[in-house]
C-alpha cells in the first residue's frame, strides 16, 4: 500500500527497507527507522483510539513521550502489551496493533454516546454519578465501565522476555542529547571525566535534528553526528540511546531503562528486552529540553490537531507530512519554523497568530517567502468527526473574550503552539524547589538539592547560543571539580533563526455561548469547564483540583496539560501561578514495564536456592523437596504410590522402631571463639553456660529484650574458649546479627568472635533405638556405650580422611546422634552411614517425619516459637535461670507475662481418634456459640502420631496449665470443620524423656 503522506526523499529513515504492520486488521507499510506513529501518519492514519471518558476520536498529537493519545494494544509473536505509545515503538517486522478504549471498534464506538451525554460526565463524575442506587453498582455500573471504558488488556501469560539490571558509577551523567547535552558531555569528557550520556529517543541530537541551525561550520545534524562519534571513541564515555532516565533518587542515584531488543528485527537469543541501570553519579547534568504546550480552543482534540514542533519532527526526521493542508495556530514565533519547513516541501500553510504583530527574524522570513499570516486571530471551533476538516476562525476582540467576525476555512490538520514547558521533572524529583518565571510562563529549577545542574531549554535557555554556552561551560566546570585537569574547549560559534517573545494568551474564547469542549488534558478528557466546575465547587489546592478533575493523572502524567491547567486555575482564582504552585513530579517520568523493574529475579531466580552437599543423593532417592527458608530440604522420600502422609508415617515409625537418617545441614551453625565466650553465652541464653564442661552440649533458649522467645538450639563446648552453636534453620541469619549486635554495640569489651559456619559443615541426624549400634559400627574403636558417650556428650572422631564432630543430641526424642563433617565430605559420610545402616533397617526421613517425631514428643519449633510466645507459654520456664541476668530477663515480670491464666502449650487429641485437626484451628468451649466466639487459643502443629496411630496436635491455649482432661472443640472456619477434642499433655510420647538417655 502506498505511503501517501511520505515525501519523495529526505528524513532519517532507511527507504531501502520496507516493513509492514497491521493496525486494526489492516496492513500498512513503513520504513526502517519509523516509529509506529510516523508510519501511521505516512499512511494518512490519524485516528488511533478513543478518549477515556467521552470516547471521542483521538489522534497523535506529538512525536515523543509527551504524546497523550496514541495508546494502543501491541501484539508481537505470542506477547501482548497494553497502553503502548505509538510514538515510542520503533517499526519492526511482525507488529500488530489495535486501538483500545473502544468497543466494538474505533470507527463505531458504543461509548461514543458518552460524548452526547457529556452533561452527565462532569468533573468528579466518578464520585457523583455512580453513587446511587447502591444496587446498581455491581450489576449495571461496574460491568458497563469495565467493558466500555478501561484501557488495554494485560496479558495473563508469563512474560517470555528477559530483563537485566546493571549498576554503574560515573563522574557526570548527562540526561538528554540535545545541543546543551552533547556540548556538556563533550567538554566534560575531554576534561577527563567519566561521562554517561543518555538519550531516550532512537537518535541523538534532540532539537538539532529538526532546527535549521549551524554550529561551527557545520549544519546542526552534522555537528551531532561528528560529536557523537567523537564521544563514542573515548574510553571514558558510555553513550546510550533508547535510554530513558526516569527517576532521580537519594544520594544522586538515578535509574534508567534501556530498550535493547524491541527495535531489532532479528535479535540474538538471550538479548534482554530492557536493561535497568542504577547510576550513581557524582554530578548530574539535566538537559532534557522542553515540551511544546497545546493551545486551548473549542474542539481542539480532533485527530489531525498536533503540536507544531512535532509536525516538523515528522517531516524532517521521518519524511512524513502530517497534513497537506495545515493551519498553523500559535501564540509565539517558534511555530513559524514549521510553516517555513512545510513551505520548503511545497505545502502552503495559513498561520493564525494570537499576537497583534511580531518582528522576529523568523516571522519576517515567513512573510518574505509568501506564507499567509493572520495576526490577532484565534480558532473559535473546529469540525470533522474522525479527522479535522475545517476550522472556524476569527479576529479577536480588543479584550480577547470573543471574535469580531467568523469564517470557516477548510484544512486537514492544525499545528498548534502555545509556547514551551521546560522538562524539569528530574530536577524536581531531586528536591529542587522550582521557581516561576513569569516572562516565559514556566517553572524553572531553582536551588539544587543534590548534585543536579539543569542546562539548555530545560533551564529556560531557549536559544541555541545560550544552550551551547551553558553546556560547554557547565560540562567543564563540573568535570574540573572532579578531574582538576583544566582542559577547557572553546564554545563554537552558532547561527540560528531569531525568535521573539510569546503571547500570554492561550485559552481561546468559545463563540456564541456554545458549550463546546475545550480540552486541557486529552488522555483523561479534562476540559476547561471541568476545571471551572472544580473551582466553583470550592476546590482550591491544585493537588485537590488535580484529583477531582483527574487533570494530569493519566499515563502521560500531564506532560502537555499540567501547565495549562495551572494557568487556568490561577486565572479563575485571580491569583498568579506561583501562588497556586505546582503538583508534585514523581518518578517514573514515563511508564516502565514491570519486568524491567523486577529484572532477573523471577521464577526460580526470585531468590537464591541453597542445597546441602547431599542434595544429589536425595534427588536420586525420590525425595520430594520443601522450601525451608532458602534451603531445599527433603520433605519425604516417596516409595511407589505413597502419599505424603503414608511416607511420613513409614519414615517416622522406622525411627521409633529401628534407625533413621535425616539431613540437618541447613541448621544454623555459629562458631564462637575468644576468652569471654562462656560469659557471652551466659548472657545470651536464659540458662547457665558458664560451667558447661568441655566436650558437652547443652540445650539453650534465647530471648529478645521484650521477653519473647527468639530461638533455641544446642551449643557445645569444643574447647575452653571455643563453642559450636546451632540455631533453627529459619533464624540462623537473625541469630548471627543478634550476637554481632551485642558484641559490637552493647558489650564491646567482651573478647569474643562469632562467624557463621552453616555452610562449612554437612550434618546428619541418626535417630532411633538402633542408632548406637550403627554408631559403633561406624567407629569400632570408640566407646559408644551410655557411659562412654552419655546424653549431651560430644566427641571429635577420625572419620575416613577427615574429622567428624559427633554429638549425642536428639530432636526426635529417640536415642540419637548428630554427625558433622566438612561439607566436601558430606556425601561420603551419608553414603557410609546408609551402607553401614542397612543391617539395622536404616531409612532416610524428611522434614514431615521429623515434624511428626517432634510434635508427638512435645518439642517446640518455629510454629510455637513464633515471636509471640514467652518461655512459660512453651513450658520452657524451667530454662530461665534465677541466678543470673540475661537478655530479655527484665521484661519477664511484666504483668501480662505473670498472670495466672497465661497461655500454655498443651497436647490435643480428637475424641474420635480419627479426625486430623487442621493447623491454625481455634479452640473454643462451645462450638455453637454466636460470634465472636471466645477463643482459648490455637492449634500450632498437627501430626499423625505413629506411637498411638491417631491424630495428635500441639496447641497454645489460655490457662493451658489447668486445662488437661477438658473437652473442647477445634474449629476451623477455613476448612469448615468442628472437631470435639480432649486436652492432654504436650508430651504425648515418653513424657519422662527416658529414650534420649537410654
Amino acid at each position: 500500500m502506498s505511503q501517501e503522506f511520505r515525501i519523495a526523499s529526505g528524513g532519517l529513515i532507511d527507504r531501502s527497507k520496507e516493513i509492514s504492520f497491521i493496525f486494526n486488521g489492516k496492513k500498512y507499510n513503513g520504513y526502517k527507522g519509523d516509529t509506529l506513529a510516523s508510519a501511521l501518519l505516512a499512511n494518512g492514519v490519524h485516528l488511533i483510539g478513543r478518549s477515556f471518558k467521552y470516547h471521542r476520536p483521538r489522534g497523535i498529537i506529538a512525536a515523543g513521550v509527551e504524546d497523550a493519545n496514541g495508546k494502543v494494544q501491541l501484539y508481537k509473536d505470542n506477547i501482548t502489551e497494553p497502553n503502548v505509545n505509538v510514538t515510542e515503538v520503533e517499526l519492526v517486522e511482525g507488529l500488530r496493533i489495535e486501538s483500545q478504549n473502544c468497543w466494538p471498534s474505533v470507527n463505531f464506538d458504543v461509548g461514543g454516546i458518552n460524548n452526547f451525554l457529556n452533561r452527565f460526565f462532569p468533573a468528579g463524575f466518578y464520585y457523583k454519578t455512580f453513587m446511587w442506587p447502591k444496587s446498581f453498582w455491581y450489576h449495571v455500573y461496574e460491568p458497563f465501565i469495565r467493558k466500555a471504558a478501561g484501557m488495554g488488556k494485560a496479558s495473563l501469560d508469563p512474560d517470555p522476555d528477559r530483563y537485566e539490571h546493571q549498576y554503574e558509577h560515573c563522574d557526570i551523567l548527562v540526561v538528554g542529547s540535545g545541543p546543551s547535552g552533547i556540548a556538556s558531555a563533550l567538554s566534560a569528557a575531554k576534561n577527563g571525566a567519566r561521562v554517561i550520556l543518555a538519550e531516550d529517543k532512537a537518535r541523538f541530537g534532540g532539537s538539532l535534528l529538526t532546527d535549521n541551525v549551524t554550529i561551527g561550520n557545520k549544519n546542526g545534524d552534522e555537528w551531532v553526528e561528528d560529536s557523537i562519534s567523537e564521544l563514542k571513541s573515548m574510553p571514558n564515555v558510555i553513550i546510550k540511546k533508547r535510554s530513558q532516565v526516569f527517576g532521580y533518587y537519594d544520594h544522586n542515584m538515578l535509574v534508567m531503562f534501556e530498550r535493547c531488543k524491541d527495535h531489532l528485527n532479528n535479535p540474538e537469543p538471550y538479548t534482554p528486552r530492557q536493561r535497568l541501570w542504577y547510576i550513581r553519579a557524582k554530578q548530574v547534568l539535566i538537559s532534557t529540553g522542553s515540551i511544546e504546550r497545546p493551545l486551548i480552543f473549542a474542539n481542539n482534540d480532533r485527530p489531525g490537531i498536533m503540536l507544531a514542533s512535532s509536525a516538523r519532527e515528522y517531516l524532517k526526521v521521518y519524511g512524513v507530512l502530517p497534513g497537506k493542508k495545515p493551519i498553523i495556530f500559535t501564540n509565539n514565533d517558534t511555530a513559524y519554523e514549521t510553516a517555513i519547513e512545510f513551505k520548503a516541501h511545497g505545502i502552503d500553510t495559513v498561520i493564525l497568530d494570537t499576537r497583534k504583530s511580531s518582528d522576529a527574524g523568523v516571522v519576517i522570513e515567513a512573510k518574505n517567502i509568501g506564507i499567509e499570516i493572520k495576526f490577532n486571530h484565534g480558532i473559535a471551533n473546529t469540525a470533522g468527526y474522525k479527522k479535522v476538516k475545517s476550522a472556524t476562525i476569527g479576529e479577536l476582540t480588543e479584550s480577547k473574550d470573543g471574535y469580531k467576525n467568523l469564517t470557516t476555512i477548510p484544512c486537514d490538520s492544525i499545528f498548534v503552539s502555545g509556547n514551551w514547558t521546560p522538562t524539569v521533572h528530574l530536577a524536581s524529583q531531586s528536591g529542587n524547589k522550582l521557581k516561576y518565571e513569569s516572562e516565559t510562563d514556566t517553572f524553572l529549577p531553582d536551588q539544587s538539592r543534590q548534585k543536579e545542574t539543569v542546562i539548555g531549554s530545560a533551564n529556560g535557555s531557549f536559544t541555541l547560543k545560550e544552550s551551547l554556552a551553558d553546556g560547554f561551560n557547565k560540562g567543564y566546570q563540573l568535570s574540573d571539580e572532579i578531574t582538576k585537569n583544566g582542559r577547557e574547549i572553546s564554545v563554537p560559534i552558532s547561527d540560528e533563526k531569531d525568535f521573539g517573545s510569546h503571547d500570554k494568551f492561550w485559552c481561546m474564547p468559545v463563540a456564541d455561548n456554545k458549550h463546546y469542549k475545550r480540552f486541557v488534558d486529552f488522555q483523561n478528557d479534562v476540559a476547561v469547564s471541568d476545571i471551572q466546575l472544580a473551582v466553583r465547587e470550592g476546590f482550591r489546592s491544585i493537588e485537590h483540583v488535580k484529583r477531582y478533575t483527574t487533570l494530569g493523572m493519566a499515563t502521560d502524567q500531564g506532560k502537555t496539560s499540567n501547565l495549562n491547567g495551572l494557568q487556568l486555575v490561577s486565572d479563575l482564582e485571580k491569583k498568579i501561578v506561583p501562588e497556586v504552585g505546582h503538583t508534585t513530579f514523581r518518578p517514573p517520568y514515563t511508564s516502565v514495564t514491570i519486568g524491567t523493574i523486577i529484572g532477573r529475579e523471577v521464577g526460580k531466580n526470585y531468590r537464591a536456592t541453597r542445597k546441602s552437599p547431599i542434595h544429589e543423593w536425595h534427588e536420586k532417592n525420590n525425595a520430594v523437596f520443601v522450601d525451608a527458608g532458602l534451603w531445599l530440604r527433603p520433605r519425604y522420600y516417596k516409595r511407589g504410590n505413597e502419599t505424603l502422609q503414608e511416607a511420613a508415617k513409614r519414615e517416622a515409625l522406622n525411627v521409633r522402631q529401628n534407625v533413621g537418617i535425616c539431613d540437618v545441614t541447613s541448621l544454623g551453625k555459629i562458631d564462637i571463639k575468644g576468652k569471654d565466650s562462656a560469659e557471652f553465652l551466659n548472657r545470651v541464653y536464659t540458662n547457665a553456660f558458664l560451667k558447661l564442661p568441655v566436650g558437652k552440649a547443652r540445650y539453650g533458649v534465647m530471648l529478645r529484650e521484650d521477653g519473647m522467645v527468639f530461638d533455641d538450639g544446642t551449643t557445645t563446648r569444643i574447647a575452653e574458649n571455643h563453642f559450636h552453636m546451632t540455631t533453627t534453620t529459619a533464624q540462623a541469619a537473625n541469630v548471627l546479627s543478634h550476637l554481632e549486635y551485642y558484641l559490637q554495640v552493647v558489650w564491646p569489651e567482651l573478647d569474643v568472635n562469632v562467624v557463621s559456619t552453616t555452610e562449612q559443615w554437612a550434618g546428619a541426624a541418626i535417630a532411633g533405638p538402633k542408632s548406637r549400634e550403627l554408631l559403633q559400627r561406624l567407629f569400632p574403636e570408640e566407646d559408644m556405650s551410655n557411659e562412654g558417650f552419655p546424653f549431651m556428650g560430644f566427641k571429635e572422631l577420625k572419620f575416613k580422611n577427615t574429622v567428624a564432630r559427633v554429638f549425642r543430641i536428639s530432636f526426635s526424642g529417640e536415642l540419637a546422634f548428630e554427625m558433622n563433617v566438612m561439607s566436601d565430605y558430606g556425601e561420603e559420610m551419608w553414603n557410609e552411614i546408609i551402607s553401614q545402616g542397612e543391617d539395622f533397617g536404616i531409612q532416610p526421613y524428611g522434614t514431615e517425619a521429623l515434624s511428626t517425631l517432634r510434635i508427638e514428643m512435645g518439642h517446640v519449633a518455629g510454629s510455637e516459637i513464633d515471636g509471640r510466645t514467652i518461655a512459660y507459654d512453651l513450658s520452657l520456664e524451667g530454662m530461665l535461670s534465677q541466678k543470673k541476668d540475661f537478655i530479655g530477663k527484665r521484661s519477664l515480670n511484666r504483668k501480662a507475662f505473670t498472670e495466672n491464666n497465661r497461655e500454655k502449650i498443651v497436647g490435643v487429641v480428637p475424641i474420635d481418634k480419627k479426625t486430623s485437626i487442621p493447623e491454625g484451628s481455634y479452640l473454643v468451649e462451645n462450638a455453637k456459640a454466636s460470634f465472636p466466639n471466645p477463643k482459648l487459643g490455637h492449634v500450632s502443629a498437627s501430626c499423625w502420631s505413629v506411637e498411638y496411630d491417631n491424630p495428635f496436635s500441639l496447641a497454645i491455649i489460655k490457662d493451658g496449665k489447668n486445662k488437661k482432661g477438658e473437652k473442647l472443640f477445634a474449629v476451623s472456619p477455613l476448612k469448615n470443620k468442628i472437631i470435639p477434642v480432649e486436652i492432654v499433655s504436650q508430651h504425648y510420647v515418653d513424657p519422662e524423656g527416658k529414650r534420649v538417655r537410654s
Partner: protein
C-alpha cells in the same frame, strides 16, 4: 537508595545494609535494678526526630560490622559515619 560510607569498606549502596535504630539508646547494665519506666524506654520508646539522627547501621551484606551514621531524616543527607567507639 542511600549511599552509606561503611567505616571499614567505604561507600556502598543502601541495599548492603540493615538499619539498627537510634544509636544513642543504651542498654541498662546487667545485674542492676532497672525501673519499669527505664526498661520500657529502652525496649519500646524511640524518638522520631525530624533532622539529624545518630543511628546504627549493620553492614550485613559486607563486613558485618555495626557502626554509627549521623543522618538527617528529612533530607537523607548523611553528615558523618563512624565506628562504634567514635562519636560525632
Amino acid at each position: 537508595m542511600l549511599e552509606i560510607k561503611c567505616p571499614y569498606c567505604g561507600n556502598r549502596s543502601q541495599n548492603e545494609f540493615a538499619y539498627g535504630g537510634d544509636a544513642t539508646v543504651k542498654r541498662p547494665e546487667l545485674n542492676t535494678e532497672v525501673s519499669d519506666q527505664d526498661w520500657d524506654n529502652f525496649v519500646y520508646y524511640r524518638k522520631n526526630p525530624r533532622g539529624n539522627h545518630l543511628e546504627l547501621w549493620h553492614h550485613i551484606s559486607g563486613c558485618r560490622q555495626w557502626f554509627k551514621v549521623l543522618r538527617n531524616t528529612a533530607t537523607h543527607d548523611i553528615i558523618q559515619t563512624m565506628e562504634m567507639k567514635e562519636n560525632p
